[in-house]
Symmetry: C2
Subunit: 289 residues, 2 copies
């Protein structure tokens, strides 16, 4: 069995444009076969830059439905449809995924009906199936066994309607030879630590809580206070990422969704290392693990 | 009045991934104000790399609804919505544009309803207005006067239902000091030559009719024959692009949507120059004109 590679296609944090990091997306792949894990804007071009083909992608796994993790999905479906690339596709994600995929598929109807004078119509649209998953759900992607766990990225009260409707997931990918856990976006979470127990590789978000994204700098004190609360409760500081890795007992941590300025990466690494003594990698776009 | 710049954000041809060219998109802009002309996958990140801000974009102009020209639209709308970037947006395009924008907006409803425990909901969705235009229609974007003309990219028989439903447009942008004409995708077209009459700058597609995109090389003789017909009738060869520029009497031509392999660019330039004696530029991503 060929070993699977995890490639960080896009390592930016949040929907605002970053000069050198693409939007969040990852590829779990071997030659001729791939699963896209999160589908940020430009994921299709990043797949090609990673040396894989769009036709290789058999499934998409979405951690949550924030636009930085889904912005590339319309292009992915359309760039499969118009040039007739690839076969059936299954999209796994939290509640809301089926609705999202339904609207995006509807948006492609015109394109499916369109031919040229020189060209038969594209219809029918190749099968795209949405599968919604939640806490504890398990599914298989060929030789990979996947388990989902709800994390704390939205942090709604447990019994609230919002908590049922809006879920952010982490995933454990049991692959032959190693277990890989992907946090998606999360705040501190015992549930994620449990999901990641003894994994070989923890692909974790990281966020500098003292950083204010440039686009938010002139928005006033109310927004500044929201950002502070959001970063503290719904993302992982370098110390918290290190603590998660140590608590789970993983062998190595890969930091992605990097909400840390380049100038502060060395300091962030020290903070991770002060809690976790395994291997620490800060990912760049197209790094392979 | 500050002069407007035309930046080629993405210069690839067709929806298949290209290693070094982003999907078709262009920015007509001055500091703090911009119009996006076509919205290929990754347009938002390319806008940032061009030194502009997403918040600057007041309008989108779509030449036609092939996915290489629209794949970035979902991400553009969502990356404005979630971080509350920018104000009202108007999207101009051919018939079908309102339906497309309607489905993409519906796909963002979940995101608009979503807050965090720490964050008020994003709703309501900022106003996005679709305006469908066709042959001869004119509209103004601040100081720019725009005129639309139907081109031959789809080449359906004139009286057919398909010809009414599926239209591909070229646009003339009358800006203070210079007129810029954008062909979008087209085959040879007297209508486009008329639209471009005496323009300062012709932004034209170009396509090597002998080139077979890698993704289509193993699809058999029927697809090969379609591609040949499609390239001959519905795109511009280097000679045809040069002929269009000469016939219209423009001062300069910028070739984008470059369906020419890098190794063949010099030969293509010679072919353009054999018909047109003005300035000839083969665009790369993020070139400014």
């Amino acid at each position: 069995m060929t070993a699977l590679t995890w490639t960080t296609l896009g390592t930016a944090a949040g929907p605002n444009a970053h000069g050198t990091r693409a939007q969040p997306a990852n590829l779990l792949h071997r030659p001729g076969w791939a699963v896209l894990v999160d589908a940020g804007d430009s994921a299709v071009d990043q797949i090609a830059r990673a040396g894989a083909r769009l036709a290789d992608v058999r499934a998409v796994v979405l951690s949550h439905l924030h636009i930085d993790h889904t912005g590339g999905l319309f292009a992915l479906l359309g760039r499969r449809l118009q040039p007739r690339v690839g076969g059936p596709l299954t999209i796994y994600g939290p509640p809301g995924t089926a609705e999202l995929v339904g609207h995006l598929t509807a948006a492609l109807r015109y394109l499916a009906d369109l031919g040229h004078a020189t060209n038969p119509r594209v219809s029918p649209i190749p099968a795209v199936t949405a599968v919604e998953v939640t806490e504890g759900d398990e599914f298989d992607l060929d030789e990979i066994h996947v388990r989902a766990a709800v994390n704390t990225h939205y942090s709604f009260p447990p019994d609230s309607d919002d908590n049922a409707r809006f879920q952010s997931l982490s995933f454990r990918f049991g692959t032959p030879g190693r277990a890989i856990v992907y946090t998606g976006d999360t705040g501190p979470s015992l549930n994620v630590a449990q999901l990641a127990q003894d994994a070989d590789l923890l692909i974790s978000e990281i966020n500098d809580p003292n950083r204010v994204p440039p686009a938010l700098r002139d928005k006033g004190p109310a927004v500044a206070e929201f950002v502070k609360q959001h970063f503290e409760r719904e993302h992982l500081s370098p110390s918290e990422a290190g603590t998660l890795a140590a608590r789970a007992g993983v062998r190595a941590i890969v930091l992605t969704h990097v909400g840390v300025d380049d100038a502060d990466l060395a300091a962030a690494r020290q903070l991770v290392a002060s809690h976790f003594d395994g291997d620490i990698h800060f990912a760049r776009d197209l790094d392979r693990f």
